[in-house]
Assembly symmetry: C2
Homo-oligomer: 481 residues x 2
Amino acid sequence: MNRRTRLPALGLMAAALFATSFAGSALAASPGNDPAALARIRDAAMTSDYAWERTADMTDLIGPRLSGSAGAAAAVTQVADAMRKLGAKVTLQPVKVPHWVRGAETGELVEYTGRPAGITQRVVLTALGGSSATPAEGLKAQVIVVNSFDELKARASEVKGRIVLFDVPFDQHMADRGLAGPAYGQGSNYRTNGPRIAAEMGAAAALVRSVGGADYRLPHTGNTGMQDGARIPAAAVSVEDAMLMSRLAKRGPLSMRLVLTPKILPDADSFNVIADLPGTDKADEVVIVSGHLDSWDLATGAHDDAAGVASAMAVFDLLKKLDYRPRRTIRLIAWMNEENGTRGARAYLEAQQANAGTHIGAIESDNGVGRPFGMRTSVPAASTRLFAPLQAALLPIGAGVFQRQDALSTGDLSGLERAGVPSFAPLVDTSAYFDYHHTAADTLDKVDPDNLRRNVAVMAATAWFLANVEEPIGRASVPAK
Amino acid sequence: MNRRTRLPALGLMAAALFATSFAGSALAASPGNDPAALARIRDAAMTSDYAWERTADMTDLIGPRLSGSAGAAAAVTQVADAMRKLGAKVTLQPVKVPHWVRGAETGELVEYTGRPAGITQRVVLTALGGSSATPAEGLKAQVIVVNSFDELKARASEVKGRIVLFDVPFDQHMADRGLAGPAYGQGSNYRTNGPRIAAEMGAAAALVRSVGGADYRLPHTGNTGMQDGARIPAAAVSVEDAMLMSRLAKRGPLSMRLVLTPKILPDADSFNVIADLPGTDKADEVVIVSGHLDSWDLATGAHDDAAGVASAMAVFDLLKKLDYRPRRTIRLIAWMNEENGTRGARAYLEAQQANAGTHIGAIESDNGVGRPFGMRTSVPAASTRLFAPLQAALLPIGAGVFQRQDALSTGDLSGLERAGVPSFAPLVDTSAYFDYHHTAADTLDKVDPDNLRRNVAVMAATAWFLANVEEPIGRASVPAK
């Protein structure tokens, strides 16, 4: 099957542009969605170290990359440079991002029933993104421990001036049976909304039990949903310390001194990195492959989401090595600010709103790189049969599952999805993801090189498939909430 | 079998003393090592919450208990009070202990090949007990990474003025197949001796990869064996950061800024808590049940060794509830300063050297309270057959293994063992112990209440057995090294 014979003028122009920017690569014919081509992409992914090397560069050389930080800026430069090296056409799309900077953070249990004279106890905690600061010397208040929003409501009269601890356990059993996402949703509901609700009720500060399954006294940070004018100091305590505080509160009144001195600085200048591999005969149609550049500040964000960005980058590397040209343009986006604002996704959506219709599909890898089983997507149910050749190509690496949902509602792609662009995300084993996610332990050593290769195979084969599929795959139709 | 009929005068005197101090308990006959008595002890242990409550009191109410700290002093008081409440005769044996206090501790990788402008990276580390301090602003030096003492020797010319990192992985595979102790020994060899050897070679500071199997970026502290006059700053880095530093050192020269400001204060006054349950007809013979009061300062030392002390305390509680009187005196010792000096053990040995012969056996629970499988001991091989009734009693709870070694060489009991006193230690599953040991994560929630009950059953049945056994079990004969 020779697609080149059917190239229209636009495609030829795009191909010419491509030949210039994708230097050294001859203008070859696209093999399209031939099963052999999909298999070659998969096999090339499974023998490549490219994504590993890019993940290592981002995590080992830069480290943490919270929006507004020097690390985030370095990641923009590093990824843009690497994409230029692959011959891609790189654009830096300006994005104004929140600039929240962690400060001192300590918690000390200073009064409780049974406390021996002279004893106070340190708890392990970390400020949530968006937290305001306590006075430098801290604030001292009694702690009220609740296990739900209902309990908070029932105890509303006790909240004023107190430190509210939401002690809601992460449901690891759910995570173990394939429902890590919903388990995380249950838990992060308290992280996202708890401090705001406590603030509205007059609390002096809010603490949440870390959302995750590990038991290594690691606090899990993340963003919290307070707005200017109603901010209070807010932190995640380690699971162990939440349990300790609950036990002590059962013995009698518990007071603590809390020191959190984060700063909210003016919004900072940053960028989405956008790199195009222009299509041939349908170059004005776009398939996005993506991950996000920013990470939380406690670790190097290896799973979240250096490996995702690196997987997307590897799609370009593979196609270059194979000298494969897609019919549609494949666009890498390394999103900025997924973690605490999704400003990058908003900036892109704003710029491309009118072109949403030319976006055929958008892929993001942002659930860590546990073992991939296949692909999740929000294509219409009627289209799933079209993906049989893709599934067949991925089956030999155990990634043949094709799981459709009405909406994926991921951080960066949900705006495009609401505009009709089907979302795609590698379906990976996330049972251990929330052990590490947003903690100090999300580091390179947690990334399994073979799972990363499988992730690249899934991303690349899917991107290729979407860029060449003949039949319309239809539009996403996000159900009203 | 009525032992009372055979009570000699000394026994009667001891029993009278016992009746006074063990208030409210009538002078009953000892059932000795009757299988039914051993079974009753086991069953009572398996339905008791006493050890759990004591473990919770020590960890939740006091927290960390490093020698010389307010926590260690509070633990002396708490355990002494609890033992008095059980009617035991309590003695506080004075012990002068090292008083090392952790200060600030940060590590920052400031120069390495591929470092983007403006980027430095924080590593997670924690000072080792006995470390000296850097200047307050830290010291900056190039890092030399070695994987063995041999490599250090081969690179001796590079050591002067540098920071030496011993990057030696913990052998979790060994730990998984029941050899956690030897695996720990291999690793802690570098922690104990590495800084001293590096200091002797002129290093500016020494770092060791944390000794343990977990991958949650937790540094594992512990003591290091430097002496006054040859101390340098020494810290354990998390496994992840040791791996990072090794990878960066492979890319080119790596420099870091290290801040460690611990203080070595004058030796402090402290105590072993000693509590006797006097024997009947052989009251001058002693069986020790023990654990250690002190813990490292990063956590509440639940496994190491609050649960051990609590298990020993529970032996007294059980025998009181059962109204069982041992023929020999059962002596609880809550040792002080096992972690960084074993001064408590030395003080006891010094005071009791002349009486070593009256010590029939000494039990310590200090390997955490993973699932108990039985008992380890250094009794002579010829005596093991005597323990069949004890094994039979513990078999129903899966703890019937009786594992003899020529020497246990544990921290607190090794002096007594060298003086001929057979050591005993619950044989527990330690495959996960070094995930938590000496880290911030050694907290109450890691203690399984049923395993703690089993540990008490093993301790109590063994103590009872030793306190009543008719035949001589013989003396320990520690082989020359």
